[in-house]
Structures are given as structure tokens and as C-alpha cells.
Symmetry: C2
Subunit: 330 residues, 2 copies
Amino acid sequence: MRNSVILSSGMHVPEQVYTNQYFNDLLGEDVDTWLRENVQIYERRWCNEEESVADLCVAAAEKALAEGDLKATDLDLLIIATDTPEYISPSTASKVQHRLGAVNAGTFDVNTACAGFVTALDIASKYIRSDEQYNKVMIIGAYAMSKYLNMQDKKTVTLFADGAAAFVLGADTSDSGKGFLASELTTKGEYADWMGIYAGATKTPTTAAVVAENDHKLKILQRFPSELNPEMWSQLALNLCKRVGVEPHQVDHFFLTQININSIQATMDRLGLPMSKTTTVMHNYGYTGSACIPMAYEKAKKNGKIKEGDLVMFIGSGGGLSFGAVAFRL
Amino acid sequence: MRNSVILSSGMHVPEQVYTNQYFNDLLGEDVDTWLRENVQIYERRWCNEEESVADLCVAAAEKALAEGDLKATDLDLLIIATDTPEYISPSTASKVQHRLGAVNAGTFDVNTACAGFVTALDIASKYIRSDEQYNKVMIIGAYAMSKYLNMQDKKTVTLFADGAAAFVLGADTSDSGKGFLASELTTKGEYADWMGIYAGATKTPTTAAVVAENDHKLKILQRFPSELNPEMWSQLALNLCKRVGVEPHQVDHFFLTQININSIQATMDRLGLPMSKTTTVMHNYGYTGSACIPMAYEKAKKNGKIKEGDLVMFIGSGGGLSFGAVAFRL
């Protein structure tokens, strides 16, 4: 039985730091107090004018390859999860494939908003488990949402930020018990029109009027019920526990979408688990969408919070609303 | 052993027909002669102002469900392959899930330009083959490129058009020999900057200047070598033949990307096979990108060109350049 295991990983964020003070000045009001006290965001990174999402992907990919002592030509498949692509078409993955020199890798992008990385982890695992052509698969969660922000929109501009992180997954045929254990994807499409980038595609093509109105920018049209993510995330965790055959306390670490630290706290509360069993990165990076879950993994790895043999869960949600959950034995 | 089989399919195109005469008038020159004589395109369908890609998807999906006597709630997963999405974010699939009422389906979009449908066919097959949660998976190839066309660009406006087609794939545990046999994905990322929609994402965000210059529209920046698709498609066909253990003449039907009938002819020539072993749809539909391969399948099915037990190959290419090839036993 072939299984999908995490071989290595890496992340990259732009150099340019934007503190909360920048937004106080930009918006002409104190947003820092709310950001610090309510969502624990202190600073974030944004691409500069010359940077875009492919740059973040290439840098994260190179770190993941280096950590695994791998060459780009070792990769059989490259999947990029993003809803802030390099171009509308072709895929960001094709561009990154060329820049990396990953000439043996098939490529595609996955868009399921901020659930994209977990979904890509599920897809990549299925390639490795079911097709012997796939021995090394790279997945990248990438986000350059700064490019789609309306600088006058307090609800979005203070939260969303840029970053990328990559995993290299490999095929393990040793029956080690390591690697992919279970997954679940679910969608509540009734929320598709609540948050998104609604103009610039086929429903509302870009026009001068669209640009004048900033309709091509990210919009939060309705506020999601605060209980929605904790309910869904904890239920997904319980579902995975059942499939894996463990109790929640036997899970060593959770990597959850970093949109709001209160949702993470509420999820851990529902599971009866301490915050020490999860890692948060919004403090210094803001909300980095499809990149935030592997960025949290990088932080946990760096801080020695996870080790070989640990049972971990990646649980993400994003616009759509789409949800993905994957359990791995490290 | 679980395998992925095609249970049913359906297609939809917009009502509005644009003949070559429309483009003679639009461009003020005779483009009809070249289109008829060189690429055998006579007419195509475009969305009207109120239509967009999700409308095409929902209509195609409903036909596929009806043909299979299935309900939307039967679907475990919905994958939409498109590079002309409903929104930039969230996914087109989340919107379509809600409109269909496919409440039990996880969702994501795949973007690998016009290789998207074949790639989605590969992904969906891997879900079905490797995870018992997935018994009914819908994939849709969808294209509303009319929304991204520069009406003054003769190279694109005369060729590209709109449509969608859906497959429902099911799990077969009967060891019937039917269903998915082999696949290959490959990418030549060195061509990523040759054809695409380059502004409107993170590399070149939309601005008033971008709109004024029509940079947010589809552009062909360099002409692809005419031998590239025939070389790649015939090689992919031979690779799949080898994996399946057959000679090319034992393949009953080929479904190839419909960008240029001459590429299809040259591919069949290289394989030493007659044009009767393939089906073309560009004559009445123009080039419909990620939708064209399942649209060709629909035509072949309707015309009795394929039957149970046939060995068929789906081979697609698209911007990136990305290539996908899948062999199925019907």
C-alpha cells in the first residue's frame, strides 16, 4: 500500500512589513487597538509593486526543496492552491514550474479559496496513493491578496496579507503507519455570495465602471455567523477522529485557518483541548488565506511543537464556503 | 479494486449564435473565408449579457444528472475545470453546488487552462479509486471566454466561444474492466507567457490604465509552433497505449482539444489512424477551451460513434502549456 508522507516544507513572506500603525495612518482612525485586543494581529507582510504570487511560490518551493535535499526535477506534480493567481490564465503552477525548472512535473491550480491548501493536500495524497507515476508531489498554498484590496475598506485592508508555503509529499511503501490517514471535503455553497472578489471574471467582467467602483476588489458583503467556523471545524475534527479511530485528545496538533483567533479558541474549547495543541501565525502575518495553514505548520516545526509520529490535523475553510480537513501521521 | 466509470454526461451552449458573417461585419474584412477554409469554423455560441459560466455549468450538470437518472444530492464531489470562472473568488464550483442543490458534494475548481477537463477527469478518477467516500463525482469543463475577448483582436475574437459539458463518474467495484485505465499530465511551462489573460490578477492588477489598453483580455502574444500539439498529443497517445497494452489502432475513439482541426488531422496522421476515429465540434461551436473535449464526447455519443466497451482517449492541451491525457474503457 502506497501512502503519502510529508518529506519537507518551506515558507516565504514578502520583506515589506506593515504594522497596525500604518493602517491607523491610512484610515485616519485607531484600528490598532481593535486588531491587537480582538484578533491579535500586530503586523503583516505585503508584496511590493514588483512582487506577485509566483515570486512567493518560487521562494517557498525552493526552501521546501532545500530542506528535503531535493531537486526541482525530482517533482512529478506541482499543485498550487490560490484564489489570488499570477494570471487569470494560464495557471500559476505552469509559471512556477518553469521558474523552478520542475520540467518533469505536471501542473494545475486549485481554487477553493482559503480551503485550497488542505484540498490540495487531499488531492496530492490521492495522486500518490493511487498512481505509481507520482513519487514526489509539491503543493503550495499561496496568497497575494494585497493586490485585490480596496485601501479604503477597513473590514478587509487591515486583515488580509501575503505569503506562501510549500510541502513536498512523497510516496511511502513501507507500511510505516506514517502519512495520510483520512480526509473530508464539504461545501456550504449558500454562502458563495458573502465574501469574495466578484468582478473581473465572467459574472461581472472588468470595465472602467467596475474599476471606478472598486468592484474588482475583495469584498465582505455579509458577516459570517461567528459560530460557523468553530462548529464546522470541530465537527470535521470529530469526523476525522472517528475515521482514524482516536479520541480528540489523542491528536497532537491542529493547524486551522487563521482568519480569526477567536474561532480557533472556540474550536479548541469545543474539542476540550488546550490552545497549546494549535499554532497561530496571524500575529505577525495577518490573514494569509490559502497559505496560512502550511505557514502555521512551519512555525510549529521551527518551534519544536511537532515531531515524528505525531497525529496532526489540517482543517481549513474559505470563501464559498468550502471546508477541507486532512489527518496525517508525521 | 474500485474503478472510476462514466455514468452519464450532458452539455449546454448559450442560445445566441454568432456566424462568421458577424465577424466580417465587426472587423470590416472577410474573415469568413479563412475560418471556413483553414479551420472549419462556421459559427459559435456566446453568452448574452445576463449569462455567465455558472449558468452554463448548471444547465450542463442538470442534463448529465437527468441522463443518469441521478439527483444533485447524490453527488459526493463537484470539480469545475475552467480558466473563465464565475468570480475570481470563491470557486465557481461552490456557486454551482448551491444552485444545483448538491449539498453533499465537496467542491473545488481546477485551472490548468484548456487541459482542465482532462485533468479534472484524472483527479476525479483518483478520488473514486482511492477513497470510498466518493461514489458519484461530477466534473464540468466550462468556458465563457467571450467575456474576456477584445472585440478588436482578430486573432482571438473569431475563434473563442462559450460552452460547458459535464460527466458524472461513478465507482465500479465489479472488476468489469470498464473505466479509467491510464493517464499522464505534463507541462511545458516555458510557454506560460505565450497565450493567456495576463492582467486582472496579482502580476498585473486591474487599473483604469489596464482596462483602457484591453490588457485584461485574452491575448495571443506568440504563435505556437504548429507541430507542437500534434507532436505532444500523438506522443501522449502512444504513452497511454503502452501503459494500457494496446496498439494505436486498437483505440476506438480520440477526443482532442478543438483549438485547430489541422492539429487534430496531423495527430491522427502521426498515429496512422483515420479522422473517423475522432470527433470535431469547432464547426458549430468555435473553440470552447476546457469544455471542448466533453462537448466532442457528447456529439460522438449522440451520433452513435462510441459504444459500451470502446477504448477511448481524452487528450487535451491548454495555456501554460499544460497537457493531460486519460484512457477509459467505456
